[in-house]
Protein backbone atom coordinates (compact mmCIF):
# COMPACT_ATOMS: atom_id res chain seq x y z
CA UNK A 1 0.00 0.00 0.00
CA UNK A 2 1.42 3.34 -1.02
CA UNK A 3 1.98 5.74 1.82
CA UNK A 4 0.48 9.22 1.68
CA UNK A 5 1.60 11.71 4.29
CA UNK A 6 -1.16 13.31 6.30
CA UNK A 7 0.61 16.56 6.94
CA UNK A 8 1.47 18.58 3.88
CA UNK A 9 3.16 21.48 5.59
CA UNK A 10 6.15 21.87 7.88
CA UNK A 11 5.49 22.57 11.56
CA UNK A 12 8.72 22.23 13.51
CA UNK A 13 10.71 22.99 10.37
CA UNK A 14 8.48 25.92 9.36
CA UNK A 15 11.44 28.31 9.50
CA UNK A 16 14.13 25.76 8.69
CA UNK A 17 13.95 24.96 4.97
CA UNK A 18 13.80 21.17 4.75
CA UNK A 19 12.82 18.78 2.01
CA UNK A 20 10.28 18.40 0.54
CA UNK A 21 9.15 21.94 1.39
CA UNK A 22 12.31 23.95 1.23
CA UNK A 23 15.86 24.21 0.00
CA UNK A 24 18.34 23.33 2.69
CA UNK A 25 20.88 25.77 1.31
CA UNK A 26 18.66 28.62 2.50
CA UNK A 27 18.93 27.66 6.13
CA UNK A 28 19.95 30.42 8.49
CA UNK A 29 19.64 31.28 12.16
CA UNK A 30 16.17 32.69 12.78
CA UNK A 31 16.51 35.72 15.06
CA UNK A 32 13.78 37.16 17.25
CA UNK A 33 12.45 39.67 14.69
CA UNK A 34 12.12 37.12 11.94
CA UNK A 35 10.63 34.64 14.35
CA UNK A 36 7.89 37.08 15.38
CA UNK A 37 7.24 38.16 11.79
CA UNK A 38 6.63 34.56 10.82
CA UNK A 39 4.06 34.00 13.53
CA UNK A 40 6.32 33.35 16.50
CA UNK A 41 5.22 33.83 20.11
CA UNK A 42 1.55 33.75 19.05
CA UNK A 43 1.15 30.44 20.85
CA UNK A 44 2.68 31.89 24.01
CA UNK A 45 0.38 34.92 23.95
CA UNK A 46 -2.61 32.66 23.52
CA UNK A 47 -1.40 30.46 26.36
CA UNK A 48 -1.04 33.50 28.61
CA UNK A 49 -4.68 34.39 27.96
CA UNK A 50 -5.73 30.97 29.24
CA UNK A 51 -5.63 29.59 32.77
CA UNK A 52 -2.46 27.53 33.39
CA UNK A 53 -4.51 24.43 34.11
CA UNK A 54 -6.29 24.78 30.77
CA UNK A 55 -2.97 24.87 28.91
CA UNK A 56 -1.97 21.61 30.59
CA UNK A 57 -5.37 20.18 29.70
CA UNK A 58 -4.87 21.01 26.00
CA UNK A 59 -1.46 19.31 25.94
CA UNK A 60 -2.92 16.34 27.77
CA UNK A 61 -5.82 16.03 25.34
CA UNK A 62 -3.50 16.35 22.36
CA UNK A 63 -1.71 13.29 23.77
CA UNK A 64 1.64 14.76 22.86
CA UNK A 65 4.13 12.01 23.60
CA UNK A 66 7.65 12.84 24.69
CA UNK A 67 10.07 13.06 21.80
CA UNK A 68 13.15 12.18 23.81
CA UNK A 69 12.85 8.42 23.51
CA UNK A 70 10.45 7.04 26.07
CA UNK A 71 7.31 8.48 24.49
CA UNK A 72 5.71 9.33 27.80
CA UNK A 73 2.73 11.70 27.41
CA UNK A 74 3.98 15.20 28.21
CA UNK A 75 0.69 16.56 29.56
CA UNK A 76 0.33 13.63 31.91
CA UNK A 77 3.86 14.17 33.20
CA UNK A 78 2.99 17.75 34.01
CA UNK A 79 0.04 16.70 36.12
CA UNK A 80 2.37 14.77 38.43
CA UNK A 81 3.63 18.07 39.82
CA UNK A 82 2.14 18.84 43.22
CA UNK A 83 -0.76 21.25 42.85
CA UNK A 84 0.32 24.76 43.67
CA UNK A 85 -2.57 25.15 46.13
CA UNK A 86 -1.50 22.01 48.00
CA UNK A 87 1.97 23.28 48.71
CA UNK A 88 2.25 24.99 52.05
CA UNK A 89 5.28 27.06 51.24
CA UNK A 90 5.53 27.32 47.46
CA UNK A 91 9.25 27.12 46.82
CA UNK A 92 10.76 27.20 43.36
CA UNK A 93 9.70 24.70 40.72
CA UNK A 94 12.06 23.82 37.93
CA UNK A 95 12.03 22.82 34.30
CA UNK A 96 15.04 20.97 32.94
CA UNK A 97 15.17 20.98 29.18
CA UNK A 98 16.93 17.91 27.92
CA UNK A 99 19.20 19.01 25.09
CA UNK A 100 21.84 16.42 25.93
CA UNK A 101 21.28 14.59 22.69
CA UNK A 102 24.06 12.03 22.72
CA UNK A 103 22.86 8.67 21.54
CA UNK A 104 24.61 7.50 18.39
CA UNK A 105 22.24 7.99 15.48
CA UNK A 106 20.40 10.88 17.10
CA UNK A 107 20.95 14.40 15.87
CA UNK A 108 17.46 15.86 15.53
CA UNK A 109 17.39 18.45 18.34
CA UNK A 110 20.54 19.96 16.92
CA UNK A 111 18.54 21.14 13.91
CA UNK A 112 16.21 23.20 16.11
CA UNK A 113 19.05 24.66 18.15
CA UNK A 114 21.13 25.35 15.06
CA UNK A 115 18.52 27.38 13.24
CA UNK A 116 15.33 28.07 15.18
CA UNK A 117 16.16 28.39 18.88
CA UNK A 118 13.16 30.62 19.64
CA UNK A 119 10.76 27.77 18.87
CA UNK A 120 12.28 25.88 21.78
CA UNK A 121 12.27 29.00 23.98
CA UNK A 122 8.59 29.63 23.24
CA UNK A 123 7.84 26.03 24.19
CA UNK A 124 9.80 26.49 27.40
CA UNK A 125 7.83 29.63 28.24
CA UNK A 126 4.51 27.87 27.60
CA UNK A 127 5.52 24.92 29.76
CA UNK A 128 6.70 27.24 32.53
CA UNK A 129 3.39 29.08 32.44
CA UNK A 130 1.29 25.91 32.42
CA UNK A 131 3.23 24.31 35.27
CA UNK A 132 3.99 27.55 37.16
CA UNK A 133 7.68 27.01 36.92
CA UNK A 134 10.15 29.59 38.16
CA UNK A 135 13.39 28.55 36.56
CA UNK A 136 14.19 26.63 33.42
CA UNK A 137 17.61 25.16 32.68
CA UNK A 138 18.52 24.12 29.17
CA UNK A 139 20.98 21.28 29.62
CA UNK A 140 22.89 21.23 26.35
CA UNK A 141 25.60 18.68 25.66
CA UNK A 142 29.18 19.87 25.84
CA UNK A 143 30.04 18.98 22.26
CA UNK A 144 27.39 21.38 20.92
CA UNK A 145 29.61 24.46 20.99
CA UNK A 146 27.97 26.31 18.13
CA UNK A 147 24.47 25.42 19.28
CA UNK A 148 25.20 26.66 22.80
CA UNK A 149 26.22 29.98 21.33
CA UNK A 150 23.10 30.24 19.16
CA UNK A 151 20.83 29.42 22.09
CA UNK A 152 22.69 31.84 24.35
CA UNK A 153 22.18 34.65 21.85
CA UNK A 154 18.50 33.75 21.43
CA UNK A 155 18.12 33.79 25.21
CA UNK A 156 19.51 37.33 25.34
CA UNK A 157 16.97 38.38 22.71
CA UNK A 158 14.18 36.64 24.58
CA UNK A 159 15.12 38.40 27.81
CA UNK A 160 15.40 41.69 25.97
CA UNK A 161 11.90 41.32 24.52
CA UNK A 162 10.40 40.25 27.78
CA UNK A 163 9.78 36.57 27.22
CA UNK A 164 11.75 35.79 30.37
CA UNK A 165 13.04 37.78 33.29
CA UNK A 166 11.81 40.57 35.49
CA UNK A 167 10.21 42.47 32.61
CA UNK A 168 8.80 39.21 31.33
CA UNK A 169 5.60 38.72 29.42
CA UNK A 170 4.76 36.31 32.15
CA UNK A 171 5.79 38.61 34.95
CA UNK A 172 3.04 38.88 37.51
CA UNK A 173 0.76 36.60 35.51
CA UNK A 174 -1.89 35.16 37.70
CA UNK A 175 -0.79 32.73 40.33
CA UNK A 176 -2.98 31.14 42.90
CA UNK A 177 -1.47 33.28 45.59
CA UNK A 178 -1.32 36.48 43.57
CA UNK A 179 2.33 36.77 44.51
CA UNK A 180 4.71 38.19 41.93
CA UNK A 181 6.07 35.52 39.68
CA UNK A 182 8.56 35.52 36.86
CA UNK A 183 10.39 32.96 34.81
CA UNK A 184 14.14 32.75 34.42
CA UNK A 185 15.76 30.61 31.77
CA UNK A 186 19.42 29.62 31.74
CA UNK A 187 21.72 27.61 29.56
CA UNK A 188 23.78 24.94 31.30
CA UNK A 189 26.50 23.16 29.37
CA UNK A 190 27.24 19.51 29.97
CA UNK A 191 30.70 18.09 29.59
CA UNK A 192 30.58 14.96 27.53
CA UNK A 193 28.65 12.30 29.39
CA UNK A 194 25.95 10.31 27.62
CA UNK A 195 24.40 9.26 30.90
CA UNK A 196 23.44 12.87 31.66
CA UNK A 197 20.66 12.47 29.11
CA UNK A 198 18.97 10.21 31.67
CA UNK A 199 16.61 12.52 33.48
CA UNK A 200 17.80 12.09 37.05
CA UNK A 201 21.48 12.01 36.02
CA UNK A 202 20.80 15.28 34.24
CA UNK A 203 19.53 16.75 37.51
CA UNK A 204 22.60 15.55 39.37
CA UNK A 205 24.77 17.15 36.72
CA UNK A 206 22.83 20.42 37.02
CA UNK A 207 23.60 20.31 40.72
CA UNK A 208 27.30 20.07 39.89
CA UNK A 209 27.69 16.43 40.84
CA UNK A 210 28.77 13.46 38.79
CA UNK A 211 26.00 12.23 36.51
CA UNK A 212 24.79 9.27 38.46
CA UNK A 213 21.12 8.42 37.97
CA UNK A 214 18.98 8.55 41.10
CA UNK A 215 16.84 5.80 42.47
CA UNK A 216 13.18 6.46 41.77
CA UNK A 217 10.86 7.11 43.55
CA UNK A 218 10.82 9.91 44.53
CA UNK A 219 10.12 11.00 40.99
CA UNK A 220 11.49 14.32 39.78
CA UNK A 221 8.00 15.82 39.55
CA UNK A 222 7.85 15.56 43.33
CA UNK A 223 11.48 15.83 44.34
CA UNK A 224 13.80 16.76 41.52
CA UNK A 225 16.40 19.46 41.06
CA UNK A 226 17.70 20.68 44.44
CA UNK A 227 14.93 18.55 45.94
CA UNK A 228 12.18 20.68 44.38
CA UNK A 229 9.40 19.65 41.98
CA UNK A 230 10.93 19.41 38.51
CA UNK A 231 9.70 18.68 35.01
CA UNK A 232 12.11 17.30 32.43
CA UNK A 233 11.18 17.56 28.76
CA UNK A 234 13.01 17.03 25.52
CA UNK A 235 13.72 19.98 23.20
CA UNK A 236 11.47 18.66 20.45
CA UNK A 237 8.58 17.98 22.83
CA UNK A 238 8.68 21.60 23.93
CA UNK A 239 9.00 22.81 20.34
CA UNK A 240 5.65 21.17 19.59
CA UNK A 241 3.83 23.23 22.23
CA UNK A 242 3.47 26.60 20.42
CA UNK A 243 1.67 25.11 17.43
CA UNK A 244 -0.54 22.88 19.59
CA UNK A 245 -1.67 25.82 21.72
CA UNK A 246 -2.17 28.01 18.66
CA UNK A 247 -4.07 25.49 16.54
CA UNK A 248 -5.78 23.29 19.06
CA UNK A 249 -6.13 19.65 19.87
CA UNK A 250 -8.04 18.53 16.76
CA UNK A 251 -5.46 20.05 14.46
CA UNK A 252 -2.72 18.13 16.22
CA UNK A 253 -4.49 14.79 16.46
CA UNK A 254 -5.22 14.90 12.72
CA UNK A 255 -1.47 14.41 12.18
CA UNK A 256 0.43 11.25 12.80
CA UNK A 257 -1.34 7.98 13.32
CA UNK A 258 -3.60 5.96 15.55
CA UNK A 259 -2.21 2.84 17.11
CA UNK A 260 -2.86 -0.28 15.05
CA UNK A 261 -2.49 -2.59 18.02
CA UNK A 262 -4.80 -0.89 20.45
CA UNK A 263 -2.10 1.07 22.27
CA UNK A 264 -1.92 4.81 22.84
CA UNK A 265 -1.85 6.84 19.59
CA UNK A 266 1.18 8.47 17.96
CA UNK A 267 -0.14 11.87 17.01
CA UNK A 268 1.82 14.66 15.40
CA UNK A 269 4.86 15.00 13.25
CA UNK A 270 8.33 14.03 14.33
CA UNK A 271 11.80 15.13 13.47
CA UNK A 272 13.50 12.05 12.12
CA UNK A 273 17.22 11.92 11.53
CA UNK A 274 18.42 9.58 8.82
CA UNK A 275 22.01 8.39 8.76
CA UNK A 276 24.13 5.54 7.48
CA UNK A 277 24.17 4.08 3.98
CA UNK A 278 21.65 6.34 2.27
CA UNK A 279 22.09 8.89 -0.47
CA UNK A 280 20.72 11.88 1.37
CA UNK A 281 21.14 11.62 5.13
CA UNK A 282 19.73 14.40 7.27
CA UNK A 283 16.87 15.47 9.53
CA UNK A 284 13.37 15.47 8.05
CA UNK A 285 9.97 16.19 9.50
CA UNK A 286 7.46 13.40 8.89
CA UNK A 287 4.18 12.17 10.26
CA UNK A 288 4.61 9.47 12.84
CA UNK A 289 3.70 6.20 11.16
CA UNK A 290 5.74 6.65 7.99
CA UNK A 291 7.09 3.27 6.83
CA UNK A 292 10.87 2.97 7.03
CA UNK A 293 11.06 2.07 3.34
CA UNK A 294 9.21 5.24 2.31
CA UNK A 295 11.38 7.30 4.63
CA UNK A 296 14.60 5.90 3.20
CA UNK A 297 13.52 5.98 -0.44
CA UNK A 298 11.67 9.28 -0.61
CA UNK A 299 13.44 11.41 1.96
CA UNK A 300 16.81 9.72 1.94
CA UNK A 301 16.86 9.24 -1.86
CA UNK A 302 17.36 5.50 -1.50
CA UNK A 303 20.24 3.31 -0.48
CA UNK A 304 23.75 4.50 -1.25
CA UNK A 305 25.15 2.91 -4.39
CA UNK A 306 21.83 1.14 -5.06
CA UNK A 307 22.76 -1.57 -2.58
CA UNK A 308 20.27 -3.72 -0.74
CA UNK A 309 18.84 -2.93 2.69
CA UNK A 310 20.25 -5.14 5.38
CA UNK A 311 18.95 -3.62 8.57
CA UNK A 312 18.46 -0.43 10.52
CA UNK A 313 18.76 0.84 14.01
CA UNK A 314 15.24 1.90 14.88
CA UNK A 315 16.10 5.18 16.55
CA UNK A 316 19.23 5.62 18.55
CA UNK A 317 21.33 2.52 19.16
CA UNK A 318 19.69 1.51 22.44
CA UNK A 319 16.45 0.61 20.65
CA UNK A 320 17.93 -2.37 18.83
CA UNK A 321 17.88 -3.23 15.14
CA UNK A 322 15.22 -3.90 12.57
CA UNK A 323 16.15 -6.93 10.48
CA UNK A 324 16.22 -7.31 6.68
CA UNK A 325 12.57 -8.42 6.67
CA UNK A 326 11.42 -5.38 8.66
CA UNK A 327 12.02 -2.71 6.04
CA UNK A 328 8.29 -1.92 5.99
CA UNK A 329 8.15 -1.14 9.72
CA UNK A 330 6.09 1.95 10.48
CA UNK A 331 8.00 4.54 12.48
CA UNK A 332 5.59 5.22 15.31
CA UNK A 333 5.35 4.40 19.00
CA UNK A 334 3.93 0.92 18.23
CA UNK A 335 7.20 -0.14 16.65
CA UNK A 336 8.54 -1.76 19.81
CA UNK A 337 5.69 -4.18 20.27
CA UNK A 338 5.20 -4.87 16.58
CA UNK A 339 8.77 -5.43 15.45
CA UNK A 340 10.53 -6.69 18.55
CA UNK A 341 12.72 -3.69 19.27
CA UNK A 342 12.86 -1.61 22.44
CA UNK A 343 10.84 1.24 20.98
CA UNK A 344 10.83 4.18 18.65
CA UNK A 345 13.49 5.95 20.66
CA UNK A 346 14.26 9.25 19.02
CA UNK A 347 13.09 8.04 15.58
CA UNK A 348 16.52 8.53 14.06
CA UNK A 349 17.24 5.39 12.01
CA UNK A 350 20.77 4.44 10.98
CA UNK A 351 20.62 2.34 7.83
CA UNK A 352 22.94 -0.57 7.01
CA UNK A 353 23.47 -1.84 3.48
CA UNK A 354 24.14 -5.45 2.48
CA UNK A 355 27.90 -5.14 2.92
CA UNK A 356 27.76 -4.07 6.55
CA UNK A 357 29.51 -6.34 9.01
CA UNK A 358 26.91 -6.77 11.74
CA UNK A 359 29.46 -8.26 14.14
CA UNK A 360 31.44 -5.02 13.87
CA UNK A 361 28.23 -3.08 14.42
CA UNK A 362 27.56 -5.03 17.61
CA UNK A 363 31.14 -4.49 18.76
CA UNK A 364 30.89 -0.75 18.10
CA UNK A 365 27.63 -0.48 20.03
CA UNK A 366 28.93 -2.49 22.97
CA UNK A 367 32.02 -0.26 23.08
CA UNK A 368 29.79 2.78 23.27
CA UNK A 369 27.86 1.43 26.24
CA UNK A 370 31.02 0.25 27.96
CA UNK A 371 32.46 3.70 27.53
CA UNK A 372 29.36 5.51 28.73
CA UNK A 373 28.33 3.28 31.62
CA UNK A 374 28.50 5.54 34.66
CA UNK A 375 29.72 2.71 36.85
CA UNK A 376 27.13 3.01 39.56
CA UNK A 377 25.46 -0.40 39.17
CA UNK A 378 27.55 -3.56 38.95
CA UNK A 379 25.59 -5.45 36.25
CA UNK A 380 25.98 -2.57 33.83
CA UNK A 381 29.55 -1.60 34.71
CA UNK A 382 30.87 -5.15 34.51
CA UNK A 383 28.47 -6.57 31.96
CA UNK A 384 29.11 -3.88 29.38
CA UNK A 385 32.87 -4.47 29.65
CA UNK A 386 32.57 -8.23 29.30
CA UNK A 387 30.21 -7.88 26.41
CA UNK A 388 32.64 -5.63 24.58
CA UNK A 389 35.49 -8.06 25.16
CA UNK A 390 33.44 -11.00 23.97
CA UNK A 391 32.24 -9.23 20.86
CA UNK A 392 35.75 -8.04 20.04
CA UNK A 393 36.89 -11.64 20.33
CA UNK A 394 34.11 -12.82 18.06
CA UNK A 395 34.94 -10.11 15.54
CA UNK A 396 38.62 -11.08 15.47
CA UNK A 397 37.70 -14.71 14.80
CA UNK A 398 39.26 -16.02 17.99
CA UNK A 399 36.04 -16.89 19.73
CA UNK A 400 34.43 -20.28 20.17
CA UNK A 401 30.80 -21.27 19.72
CA UNK A 402 30.16 -21.19 23.44
CA UNK A 403 31.19 -17.51 23.48
CA UNK A 404 28.11 -16.76 21.42
CA UNK A 405 25.88 -18.23 24.09
CA UNK A 406 27.82 -16.45 26.78
CA UNK A 407 27.52 -13.10 24.97
CA UNK A 408 23.81 -13.61 24.53
CA UNK A 409 23.44 -14.64 28.14
CA UNK A 410 25.16 -11.49 29.35
CA UNK A 411 23.22 -9.35 26.89
CA UNK A 412 19.97 -10.86 28.10
CA UNK A 413 20.75 -10.91 31.77
CA UNK A 414 22.54 -7.65 32.46
CA UNK A 415 20.43 -4.84 33.70
CA UNK A 416 17.17 -6.38 32.55
CA UNK A 417 14.69 -3.77 33.65
CA UNK A 418 13.11 -3.28 35.96
CA UNK A 419 15.06 -3.95 39.05
CA UNK A 420 18.66 -4.90 38.40
CA UNK A 421 20.00 -1.45 37.56
CA UNK A 422 18.95 2.07 38.47
CA UNK A 423 18.53 3.45 34.98
CA UNK A 424 17.86 2.06 31.53
CA UNK A 425 21.37 2.26 30.06
CA UNK A 426 22.07 -1.43 30.56
CA UNK A 427 18.66 -2.22 29.16
CA UNK A 428 19.53 -0.29 26.02
CA UNK A 429 22.79 -2.21 25.72
CA UNK A 430 20.89 -5.41 26.31
CA UNK A 431 18.30 -4.71 23.58
CA UNK A 432 20.82 -3.54 21.03
CA UNK A 433 23.13 -6.54 21.30
CA UNK A 434 20.36 -9.09 21.78
CA UNK A 435 18.40 -7.99 18.70
CA UNK A 436 21.52 -7.87 16.53
CA UNK A 437 22.67 -11.31 17.64
CA UNK A 438 19.25 -12.88 17.24
CA UNK A 439 18.47 -11.29 13.90
CA UNK A 440 21.92 -11.98 12.36
CA UNK A 441 22.82 -15.19 14.18
CA UNK A 442 24.31 -16.81 11.09
CA UNK A 443 26.87 -14.05 10.71
CA UNK A 444 28.01 -14.44 14.29
CA UNK A 445 28.15 -18.20 13.98
CA UNK A 446 30.29 -18.00 10.87
CA UNK A 447 32.90 -16.01 12.78
CA UNK A 448 33.53 -18.47 15.59
CA UNK A 449 35.39 -21.72 15.77
CA UNK A 450 33.48 -24.76 16.94
CA UNK A 451 33.96 -25.54 20.57
CA UNK A 452 36.05 -28.67 21.01
CA UNK A 453 34.75 -30.69 23.91
CA UNK A 454 37.25 -33.33 25.02
CA UNK A 455 35.51 -36.50 26.11
CA UNK A 456 37.50 -39.17 27.88
CA UNK A 457 36.29 -42.72 27.86
CA UNK A 458 37.95 -45.99 28.25
CA UNK A 459 37.59 -48.52 25.49
CA UNK A 460 38.59 -52.12 24.98
CA UNK A 461 40.37 -54.12 27.62
CA UNK A 462 40.77 -51.14 29.95
CA UNK A 463 37.02 -50.55 29.95
CA UNK A 464 36.29 -54.09 30.89
CA UNK A 465 39.01 -54.32 33.43
Amino acid sequence: MAYTPKTNFPILTKRIPTRPWGDERQRHIVRYDEYVETGGYVGLRKALSMAPGDVTEVVKEAQLRGRGGAGFPAGLKWTFLPKIEDVNSPGPRYLAVNADESEPGTFKDRLLMDFDPHLMLEGIAICCYACRIDKAYIYIRGEYHHQAQVVEEALLEAYHHGVFGGAGLMNGSDTATGAPWKVECYLHRGAGAYICGEETALLESLEGKRGWPRVKPPFPAVQGLFGKPTIINNVETLAHLPSIIENGVEWFTAQGTESTIGGPPSYGTKLMGLSGHVNRPGVYECDLGIPLRTFVEEYGAGMRGGKKFKGAIAGGISTGVLGPDQYEAELDFDIGRKYNVLGLGTACPTIFDEETDMVAVARNISRFFKHESCGQCTPCREGSGWLFQLLSRIESGEARTKDLDLALEIATGMGAMPGTTICGLADGNNWAIRTIMNKYWGEFEARVQPTFVPVTMSVGAAANG
Binding site: T106, F107, G192, Y194, G208, F226, N364, C374
Partner: protein, 179 residues
Protein backbone atom coordinates in the same frame (compact mmCIF):
# COMPACT_ATOMS: atom_id res chain seq x y z
CA UNK B 1 35.81 5.38 31.30
CA UNK B 2 34.34 7.80 33.67
CA UNK B 3 34.48 5.62 36.70
CA UNK B 4 38.11 4.55 36.78
CA UNK B 5 39.62 5.88 39.97
CA UNK B 6 42.80 7.90 39.62
CA UNK B 7 45.57 7.70 42.22
CA UNK B 8 45.18 11.39 42.93
CA UNK B 9 45.99 11.16 46.61
CA UNK B 10 49.54 10.08 46.00
CA UNK B 11 50.24 12.49 43.20
CA UNK B 12 52.43 15.47 43.81
CA UNK B 13 50.62 18.66 42.90
CA UNK B 14 52.56 21.13 40.86
CA UNK B 15 52.05 24.63 42.13
CA UNK B 16 52.54 28.08 40.78
CA UNK B 17 52.10 31.49 42.39
CA UNK B 18 49.70 32.88 39.84
CA UNK B 19 46.18 31.53 40.42
CA UNK B 20 44.34 29.66 37.68
CA UNK B 21 41.01 30.96 38.86
CA UNK B 22 41.66 34.67 38.63
CA UNK B 23 39.90 37.36 40.64
CA UNK B 24 38.29 38.53 37.43
CA UNK B 25 36.83 35.08 36.81
CA UNK B 26 35.58 34.88 40.38
CA UNK B 27 33.86 38.23 40.02
CA UNK B 28 32.20 37.22 36.80
CA UNK B 29 31.06 33.92 38.28
CA UNK B 30 29.70 35.58 41.41
CA UNK B 31 27.82 38.12 39.35
CA UNK B 32 26.45 35.99 36.50
CA UNK B 33 26.57 32.32 37.36
CA UNK B 34 26.21 31.74 41.10
CA UNK B 35 22.78 33.42 41.39
CA UNK B 36 21.43 30.95 38.85
CA UNK B 37 21.73 27.95 41.13
CA UNK B 38 20.25 27.15 44.49
CA UNK B 39 23.53 25.73 45.77
CA UNK B 40 27.07 26.88 45.14
CA UNK B 41 27.92 23.44 43.84
CA UNK B 42 25.46 24.01 41.00
CA UNK B 43 27.97 26.43 39.52
CA UNK B 44 30.69 23.78 39.44
CA UNK B 45 30.33 22.71 35.82
CA UNK B 46 30.26 26.29 34.47
CA UNK B 47 33.31 27.11 36.63
CA UNK B 48 35.24 24.12 35.35
CA UNK B 49 34.30 25.09 31.80
CA UNK B 50 35.57 28.60 32.40
CA UNK B 51 38.92 27.49 33.81
CA UNK B 52 39.42 24.99 31.03
CA UNK B 53 38.54 27.57 28.41
CA UNK B 54 41.13 29.95 29.81
CA UNK B 55 43.97 27.46 30.28
CA UNK B 56 43.18 24.57 27.96
CA UNK B 57 43.09 22.17 30.88
CA UNK B 58 42.33 22.05 34.58
CA UNK B 59 45.37 21.72 36.81
CA UNK B 60 45.18 20.15 40.25
CA UNK B 61 45.89 23.52 41.80
CA UNK B 62 42.93 24.94 39.87
CA UNK B 63 40.72 22.22 41.36
CA UNK B 64 41.74 23.37 44.82
CA UNK B 65 41.08 26.98 43.95
CA UNK B 66 37.64 26.09 42.61
CA UNK B 67 36.91 24.11 45.77
CA UNK B 68 37.89 27.12 47.80
CA UNK B 69 35.75 29.45 45.74
CA UNK B 70 32.64 27.24 45.86
CA UNK B 71 33.06 26.14 49.51
CA UNK B 72 33.53 22.52 48.51
CA UNK B 73 36.04 19.88 49.44
CA UNK B 74 38.74 19.45 46.77
CA UNK B 75 37.64 15.82 46.58
CA UNK B 76 34.13 16.86 45.58
CA UNK B 77 35.50 18.97 42.77
CA UNK B 78 37.75 16.15 41.63
CA UNK B 79 34.83 13.75 41.87
CA UNK B 80 32.79 15.73 39.37
CA UNK B 81 35.66 16.90 37.21
CA UNK B 82 37.03 13.39 36.70
CA UNK B 83 33.60 12.04 35.78
CA UNK B 84 33.12 14.23 32.74
CA UNK B 85 35.12 13.33 29.70
CA UNK B 86 35.42 16.84 28.38
CA UNK B 87 37.44 18.16 31.29
CA UNK B 88 41.16 17.69 30.80
CA UNK B 89 42.96 17.06 34.04
CA UNK B 90 46.22 16.65 32.15
CA UNK B 91 47.57 19.17 29.67
CA UNK B 92 46.42 18.71 26.12
CA UNK B 93 47.70 20.14 22.88
CA UNK B 94 46.80 23.61 21.76
CA UNK B 95 44.46 22.14 19.17
CA UNK B 96 42.19 19.20 19.79
CA UNK B 97 41.31 16.95 16.88
CA UNK B 98 38.40 14.72 17.86
CA UNK B 99 37.21 12.16 15.35
CA UNK B 100 33.81 10.57 15.99
CA UNK B 101 33.93 6.77 16.18
CA UNK B 102 30.30 5.88 16.86
CA UNK B 103 28.17 3.70 14.67
CA UNK B 104 27.16 6.02 11.82
CA UNK B 105 30.70 7.35 11.49
CA UNK B 106 32.25 3.89 11.71
CA UNK B 107 30.13 2.51 8.88
CA UNK B 108 30.96 5.62 6.85
CA UNK B 109 34.69 4.92 7.25
CA UNK B 110 35.83 7.11 10.12
CA UNK B 111 38.91 4.87 10.38
CA UNK B 112 40.39 6.46 7.26
CA UNK B 113 39.98 9.90 8.80
CA UNK B 114 41.71 8.86 12.02
CA UNK B 115 44.45 7.17 10.02
CA UNK B 116 45.05 10.36 8.03
CA UNK B 117 45.38 12.32 11.27
CA UNK B 118 47.78 9.79 12.72
CA UNK B 119 49.98 9.93 9.67
CA UNK B 120 49.93 13.71 9.44
CA UNK B 121 50.63 14.29 13.11
CA UNK B 122 52.76 11.21 13.59
CA UNK B 123 51.03 10.34 16.85
CA UNK B 124 48.56 7.72 18.01
CA UNK B 125 45.02 8.25 19.22
CA UNK B 126 45.11 9.78 22.69
CA UNK B 127 48.56 11.30 22.21
CA UNK B 128 49.86 14.82 21.89
CA UNK B 129 52.50 15.97 19.43
CA UNK B 130 55.93 16.75 20.87
CA UNK B 131 55.58 20.45 20.18
CA UNK B 132 52.35 20.47 22.20
CA UNK B 133 50.35 21.76 19.26
CA UNK B 134 47.93 18.90 18.59
CA UNK B 135 46.12 16.25 20.55
CA UNK B 136 44.30 13.51 18.66
CA UNK B 137 41.38 11.68 20.22
CA UNK B 138 38.42 9.60 19.13
CA UNK B 139 35.08 10.44 20.71
CA UNK B 140 31.78 8.68 21.00
CA UNK B 141 28.91 10.27 19.07
CA UNK B 142 29.22 14.02 18.57
CA UNK B 143 25.68 14.33 17.21
CA UNK B 144 26.44 14.67 13.53
CA UNK B 145 25.39 11.24 12.25
CA UNK B 146 23.77 12.76 9.16
CA UNK B 147 27.15 14.14 8.14
CA UNK B 148 29.22 11.08 8.91
CA UNK B 149 32.14 10.85 9.22
CA UNK B 150 32.36 13.88 11.45
CA UNK B 151 35.15 15.47 13.46
CA UNK B 152 35.55 18.34 15.87
CA UNK B 153 38.58 20.54 15.35
CA UNK B 154 38.78 22.56 18.56
CA UNK B 155 35.19 23.79 18.90
CA UNK B 156 34.17 23.63 15.27
CA UNK B 157 32.22 20.73 13.85
CA UNK B 158 33.15 19.44 10.42
CA UNK B 159 30.84 17.03 8.62
CA UNK B 160 31.44 14.65 5.72
CA UNK B 161 35.14 14.78 6.46
CA UNK B 162 37.47 13.06 4.02
CA UNK B 163 41.06 12.09 4.83
CA UNK B 164 42.22 14.95 2.58
CA UNK B 165 39.95 17.44 4.32
CA UNK B 166 41.11 16.59 7.83
CA UNK B 167 44.74 17.00 6.75
CA UNK B 168 43.85 20.40 5.30
CA UNK B 169 42.20 21.40 8.56
CA UNK B 170 45.23 20.32 10.56
CA UNK B 171 47.51 22.30 8.25
CA UNK B 172 45.25 25.34 8.46
CA UNK B 173 45.40 25.29 12.25
CA UNK B 174 49.18 24.97 12.12
CA UNK B 175 49.52 27.81 9.60
CA UNK B 176 47.21 29.98 11.64
CA UNK B 177 49.50 29.57 14.64
CA UNK B 178 52.54 30.46 12.60
CA UNK B 179 51.10 33.85 11.67
Amino acid sequence: MAWVAKPSATEQIERRDEPYLTQEMCDQLSRDILPRYETKMGALLPTLHMVQHAHGWIAAQALEEIADFLDLAPAEVLDSASFYEEYWLKPKGKHLIAVCRSIACEICSHAEVTEACRKRLNIGVGETTEDGKFTLIELECIGACGGAPAALVDETLHENVTPQRIVELIDQARDHDAL
